[in-house]
């Protein structure tokens, strides 16, 4: 069971049963330290995860004034009734799913660039190092950098290059595209490094055998490389799905709440995490925000579960 669960992680480790000793070992002082350091993560988990989760779940069924827990009062599922008539959430979910596509698209770019790096032309190592730089830049800084490019004035970079005068960020048709690019730009950095490592992990014998059988470079890529890195691809897709569903920083910077209370023009920058934040923190309606939080969590977990199942299947195919 242990190894079964461990397989879902990034690596596999085995736990060996301690050799059954004939006599019961005497108590040692080190054990006290062992128990302490081993128990601490569990204590932390109970205090800072289980307790907040219980409160957050309870909050879904209650009215809370000004986020003060002492005012908690049962409300006959009023928040759920509100939620079923909340078109704003489904709109936000649509935007979030659309922006998550940027994460998946970034995997394609990462695969392409990792393939080019893997040709090992002179200087390919340098490019690999360079490609990782955007990934370590903060989402806030990246958003600001791109907002300079999407500047709406006629002296803005994009307007200047295209000879247009479009207010890219202030236009409901363009805002989501701007955010899409801002997410897409740094995202492949991680995938490039991981794919490059995955390429190195493929057994060279497979290529040699294929070459003897007369497979050309393209056939080798399609029939050997891609299936061999499939588990890595699905791991990256899972990571992309989870960070896509949590998209927040970029929309908070690029689509600040306007004076009409929308996130960017016509709420075109409203993701589910952003909606939850505005509802819970800005408007102090943490009770309703908890409903939003848990619906998002369930959708995210359901998606993750599918990716994990799919990944397991590809691993079985390889073996």
């Amino acid at each position: 069971m242990v190894t079964e669960t461990a397989r879902t992680g990034a690596q596999t480790t085995e736990v060996r049963e301690p050799a059954p000793s004939a006599k019961k070992p005497k108590f040692r002082r080190e054990w006290a330290w062992c128990w302490l350091v081993v128990a601490l993560p569990f204590i932390g988990y109970v205090i800072f995860n289980i307790v907040p989760v219980v409160i957050s779940v309870a909050a879904m069924f209650t009215d809370i004034e000004h986020n003060q827990i002492s005012t908690m009062q049962w409300n006959n599922f009023a928040h759920f009734v509100t939620f079923f008539h909340d078109a704003k959430y489904w709109h936000a979910l649509g935007i979030t799913l659309w922006l998550t596509c940027a994460q998946f698209l970034s995997l394609l770019i990462a695969l392409a660039m990792a393939t080019l790096i893997n040709t090992q032309v002179r200087g390919s190592k340098f490019f690999q190092i360079l490609y990782f730089v955007p990934y370590i830049c903060s989402t806030v800084a990246v958003s600001i950098m791109w907002s300079q490019i999407f500047s709406g004035s006629e002296a803005g970079v994009l307007n200047s290059l295209l000879g247009t005068e479009i207010n890219w960020i202030g236009d409901a048709n363009w805002l989501t595209w701007c955010i899409f690019i801002v997410i897409l730009w740094p995202a492949p950095g991680y995938g490039i490094v991981m794919f490059t490592a995955a390429f190195k992990g493929i057994d060279p014998c497979l290529y040699e055998a294929a070459e003897i059988d007369g497979a050309n470079a393209w056939q080798r890529y399609i029939r050997i490389t891609l299936p061999q890195i499939a588990p890595m691809t699905l791991f990256l897709a899972l990571a992309g799905w989870m960070s896509g569903m949590g998209t927040f920083d970029q929309v908070r910077v690029l689509a600040p709440i306007t004076w009409t209370g929308t996130a960017g023009v016509d709420d075109m920058g409203l993701t589910v995490a952003y909606y939850t934040y505005v509802e819970g923190i800005t408007f102090s309606n943490m009770d309703y925000a908890s409903v939003l939080n848990w619906v998002t969590a369930i959708i995210t977990m359901a998606g993750s579960f599918l990716f994990l199942k799919w990944r397991k299947k590809t691993e079985e195919n390889i073996e």
């Binding site: 062992c34 800072f48 360079l130």
Partner: protein
């Protein structure tokens, strides 16, 4: 596992010999692809670098994007140092933010890593009663997602950690307890430290902690360094939890929060784009410099343990 991956890597030059017979045409195509993507990545940096050295006067009067600042001016940088609207005791909010980010990141990252490392060491090298039950529970815990963002707000509010100086605690204290995932990540590396060395140290009278800090930790340095860099970079770039808990405490703002607040002030005032670009550039510089010096550890660190041999 890692040794297999490494030996596969060592076979590479042999393999590369046959691959290097690429035609000139395909070589040009590869370089074109690599350079095109590099240009796409460098482009935004170049834009803000140029704008940060342009005067506000030239930015406001030009009808095209200013590619060549005339004169090259430090006005943007000067504004951040001297006219920052969010100054704390006369110090620019970016500097206060940088200082806050440092301690608010280093304390939880180092503290949490020490606990995780000690726990991994206990699992790997001691047969304490209940070890297997704890380890199974640890693996299970790792697969359960940790709550993030707004979920914990009501709890932290109830215990008074959302106002005043205490509002920094939700960002620090939970991480001091170590994490199941990190323990699991470190475990195989600590396990590979020869037990004989540890037994010898025990005979010499060294205790639990001194064996860890003087033998196990130095011998498994790469994995700790990798975990440290992960934690440090994500802490340095963290914005959302700082926004949720620290927004009303200006003296505790982290760098990302200070940067975002400064930019929204500047864009509200209309103009002084040079200051916005200068601030963004300065906020990114420390991490990019760190990356330049230790990029080897970054790239090896994130692939560590991810490739099955």
């Amino acid at each position: 596992m890692s040794t297999m991956a490494r030996s596969a890597g060592r076979l590479k030059p042999k393999k590369g010999g046959s691959r290097r017979k690429m035609s000139v045409g395909s070589k040009i195509a590869v370089y074109a692809g690599l350079l095109l993507y590099a240009a796409f990545l460098v482009f935004p940096f170049l834009i803000i670098l140029i704008t940060s050295f342009t005067t506000d006067y030239q930015l406001m009067t030009s009808t095209d994007f200013v590619w060549a600042p005339d004169p090259v001016s430090l006005e943007g940088y000067q504004i951040i140092f001297e006219n920052d609207p969010n100054m704390v005791n006369g110090v620019s909010s970016l500097f206060v933010g940088f200082f806050n980010t440092m301690w608010q990141t280093l304390i939880p990252v180092i503290g949490g890593l020490a606990i995780s490392g000690l726990a991994a060491y206990a699992y790997a090298k001691y047969n304490f009663p209940g070890k297997n039950k704890f380890f199974s529970a640890n693996v299970l815990l790792m697969t359960i997602p940790v709550t993030a963002g707004t979920v914990g707000y009501l709890f932290y509010d109830a215990i008074g950690w959302t106002s005043g100086g205490a509002s920094v605690l939700p960002l620090i204290v939970p991480k001091l307890f170590g994490s199941a995932g990190t323990i699991f990540f470190i475990y195989p590396y600590v396990k590979s430290v020869p037990t004989g060395v540890i037994d010898a140290a025990k005979i010499d009278g060294m205790g639990f902690f001194s064996i860890f800090f003087r033998i196990v930790f130095p011998l498994s340095m790469p994995v700790f360094l990798a975990q440290f860099l992960f934690g440090f970079v994500s802490g340095y770039n963290n914005y959302s939890s700082a926004l949720i808990y620290l927004a009303s405490e200006k003296q505790l703002w982290t760098l990302q929060l200070a940067l975002q607040q400064l930019i929204s002030y500047i864009s509200g005032s209309g103009g002084y784009n040079n200051a916005a670009c200068a601030a963004t550039l300065m906020s990114m510089l420390p991490l990019i410099l760190l990356y330049c010096f230790v990029q080897k550890f970054f790239i090896e660190g994130i692939t560590m343990g991810s490739v099955k041999g």
